[in-house]
């Protein structure tokens, strides 16, 4: 049971097919506790499938996955008590106010004093003024912030963020980045999926690249950069960006 204390997420040989389409072909992944871990991949690489399996929303065809020490297949209720999921689209209730959304989640997590929890989170995510308004009137960035705030209720050990900034304008993206950094700063493990390479560069402590159903590389940004030959000094020194690393490893789109 050492894994329980050392790893937030431990995945071995995970496979998942949708009819003929083999999306995951043996994913191995270990995420240590704390910090932000980015799962990079092109559209359709299977990032969301990995997250859904880890969040107990999908069953894997083969392989094992443990989250916070609990097996997703056999200890699903314990996994659900340890995590929260923020999906690709802000999963908020449009008709309720921001505060009511937070109170709802706090109640469903069976916590005492849901009103105070809601007010604290509204303050923390700069939503106090908008708290009483219907979410339908919120901007994209505010919605995402509320979505993140809802994910933090009950202090889950692991937070999954599936493409948290897809469809946001640049300013709203920066707002979300701040919120994610703050979250990780409090000791929560964040597994982030993204197709934006600069997002991973900005946020992640460690990065894994999912390609053709497997993790093809995993490490810190510096380690990933070292996979390419060192920069040649010409007139201008050009360091490879993570984007270069990604595209070289993944190869041109077929």
């Amino acid at each position: 049971m050492t894994t329980r204390h050392t790893h937030a997420i431990h995945v071995q040989g995970l496979k998942k097919s949708f009819k003929e389409l083999r999306v995951l072909r043996g994913v191995d992944l270990t995420v240590a506790r704390g910090g932000i871990f980015a799962l990079l991949g092109s559209n359709g690489a299977g990032k969301t499938t990995v997250v859904k399996i880890l969040a107990t929303l999908l069953k894997a065809d083969a392989g094992t996955a443990r989250v916070n020490g609990f097996d997703v297949a056999t200890q699903a209720p314990d996994v659900r008590a340890s995590i929260s999921l923020t999906g690709q689209f802000a999963a908020v209730d449009e008709i309720l106010s921001g505060r009511e959304n937070l109170v709802l989640i706090a109640r469903l997590r069976h916590l005492g004093n849901p009103g105070k929890i809601a007010d604290d989170l509204l303050a923390r995510f700069s939503l106090t003024d908008a708290g009483g308004r219907k979410v339908a009137t919120y901007s994209g960035g505010m919605r995402r912030r509320l979505d993140l705030a809802m994910s933090l209720i009950g202090d889950p050990a692991v937070v999954f963020l599936d493409e948290p900034t897809t469809g946001l304008d640049p300013q709203a993206r920066v707002e979300v980045w701040h919120a994610v950094k703050e979250l990780a700063g409090r000791g929560t493990t964040v597994l982030l999926t993204t197709q934006y390479l600069d997002e991973a560069e900005q946020l992640a402590d460690r990065i894994a690249i999912l390609h053709q159903g497997r993790i093809i590389v995993e490490g810190t940004l510096a380690e990933l950069k070292r996979l390419l030959p060192p920069a040649e000094v010409e007139y201008v020194e050009k360091q490879p960006t993570l984007e270069d690393v990604f595209l070289t490893l993944v190869g041109p789109k077929t």
């Binding site: 209720p77 999921l85 908020v92 008709i95 309720l96 069976h110």
Partner: protein, 253 residues
């Protein structure tokens, strides 16, 4: 996690009742269509329809009540569909809650919303001259039968709510249900219908339910129709519940 079933269902029920309170148009539109039909049938066609003894407004009310429920459950499918599409469903399912409470909250909300619409329709019928000598017990029996009918149709509505790809698809299933009372004893006596149609009309569920409610309102003995109506409603309820739960389990595997 089943120990939280009641608490979670109540919390989620509170949420969707708030939705209804904030968009009362869903309850109003549910009631408007049957009321418009009732006006048309009573004041346009009613004079020309010979139903025997009763006043026509009394005669057609049971059918209108069933149409009210059939159009009301389209919103149940719609609300479920919205939760599925918006990702809220996944959020709830990834939380440590009693998972079936998500469905039950929608089903109970459907019941409350439909009962409100039914009360509105009955009040309008009273204004139009509907009168019933029925006692409290008969009214309770009518309410009980309508609740059973609403639950049966609601569980049918859950299936497209979970599986539909588009919003139109989520509510289109209710059209045949709304149409069914027209092929029954709800608006005209079945004995003027041509043979095959008459056979269908007399043996489909709506006729037995309508006849039972009509007899209860008129303070007449209900006879075998009551048992046929109860069998239809419970049968549909059980089949739809099993299918809906299977669909649900497949969706959340």
């Amino acid at each position: 996690m089943t120990k939280h079933f009641v608490g979670d269902t109540v919390t989620l029920l509170g949420r969707s009742l708030r939705h209804i309170a904030r968009s009362p148009d869903t309850v109003i539109t549910t009631a408007v269509m049957p009321i418009a039909m009732m006006l048309m049938f009573v004041y346009v066609f009613g004079g020309a329809i010979d139903t025997g003894t009763e006043s026509y407004v009394n005669y057609q009310l049971p059918g209108i009540l069933l149409i009210t429920v059939a159009s009301g459950i389209a919103y149940t499918a719609f609300r479920l569909f919205t939760d599925m599409k918006g990702g809220l469903f996944e959020r709830f399912q990834s939380m440590p809650i009693a998972r079936s409470s998500v469905l039950w909250a929608h089903v109970l909300t459907s019941l409350v919303a439909n009962l409100v619409s039914l009360v509105v329709v009955v009040l309008v019928a009273l204004l139009m001259g509907f009168r019933s000598p029925a006692g409290v017990a008969a009214w309770l029996a009518v309410a009980g039968l309508l609740i059973l009918f609403t639950l049966a149709l609601t569980w049918i509505a859950v299936i497209p709510g979970l599986t539909a790809k588009t919003m139109e698809g989520a509510s289109a299933f209710s059209y045949p249900l709304i149409f069914l009372p027209f092929l029954s004893s709800a608006f005209v006596p079945t004995d003027t219908m041509p043979g095959p149609l008459r056979a269908f009309a007399e043996h489909q569920p709506v006729t037995s339910i309508v006849n039972t409610i009509r007899d209860l309102f008129a303070r007449q003995p209900v006879g075998a129709d009551l048992w046929i109506a109860l069998c239809w409603c419970s049968g549909i309820l059980v089949v739809a519940y099993v299918l809906a739960m299977n669909t649900y389990r497949r969706k959340i595997s």
